[in-house]
């Protein structure tokens, strides 16, 4: 199995973690690390790679592109969806810049 996921940056204190959960995407909070979850599900040889820098760059490009095509996007999806998406992206970008959110890739075998 291999997957990418966004998660609260490891090592946050409880207050920071709550802030990460608030600013992050839905379902960002986890009670256990993904490594622990994989092992408990019977996976082994867990590999991890930090993609936070790439995530930050991609999210910034999403925001730039959203503004670049704003008129056409508003026409396509409506103002509500347009603004919801832009707000969500801006919140997560701020959270990454504050060190609260990270993105990791995981690979494991079973």
């Amino acid at each position: 199995m291999a997957f990418h996921t966004i998660e609260p940056t490891p090592g946050l204190d409880p207050k920071q973690r709550r802030e990460a959960n608030r600013l992050g995407p839905a379902a960002v909070s986890t009670r256990r690390s993904y490594e622990a979850l994989l092992v408990s599900a019977g996976f082994s040889r867990v590999q991890t790679r930090d993609y936070t820098a790439e995530y930050r760059a991609t999210q910034a490009r999403w925001i730039e592109a959203t503004y670049r095509y704003e008129a056409a996007l508003r026409l396509a999806m409506g103002d509500a969806m347009f603004e919801e998406r832009l707000t969500a992206r801006a919140k997560t970008l701020a959270a990454v810049d504050a060190g609260l959110l990270s993105r990791f890739g995981y690979a494991a075998t079973r």
């Binding site: 996921t5 966004i6 095509y69 056409a72 996007l73 396509a76 999806m77 690979a107």
Partner: protein, 132 residues
């Protein structure tokens, strides 16, 4: 808004030229994806999983096909694209045909909490920004 409703609304506008243009500028893809897995990261997944032509890949939360269909096209493997929102299926099927892997790609409407496959029936599993 529940996730299913959110994605239903998203799939209703998938394929729009402006959305595809924004996706290409952000991700470098044109699969109606809106996550963060770039082609390079998808390639790394393919390498991690050591995909080959004999493999059957399960893409959980496949959306409109990224990255599962891309990996199937790149590595020649078969792919089951699992997606809980049926409104994504037309785009997924169309993209499988465009990518030339329609014969080895099977879209399935199902939730990841109840995958309708026998245990050990796939060789590899991928999901991108599905858990979060």
């Amino acid at each position: 808004m529940r996730n299913v409703e959110r994605f239903r609304d998203r799939y209703a506008v998938s394929g729009d030229p402006a959305l595809l243009a924004a996706e290409f500028d952000a991700l470098g893809t044109d699969y109606s994806a809106n996550g963060y897995t770039t082609p390079l990261q998808a390639e790394e997944i393919g390498d991690w999983l050591a995909l080959g032509e004999e493999d059957l890949l399960l893409d959980v939360g496949a959306g409109c096909g990224w990255p599962g269909l891309y990996l199937a096209k790149r590595h020649g493997c078969a792919v089951i694209s699992l997606e809980p929102v049926p409104e994504g299926m037309p785009a997924l099927r169309a993209r499988a045909s465009v990518d030339g892997c329609g014969e080895q790609a099977w879209p399935v409407v199902a939730d990841a909490v109840a995958i309708p496959l026998r245990p050990k029936s796939v060789d590899a599993i991928v999901h991108a920004d599905v858990l979060c």
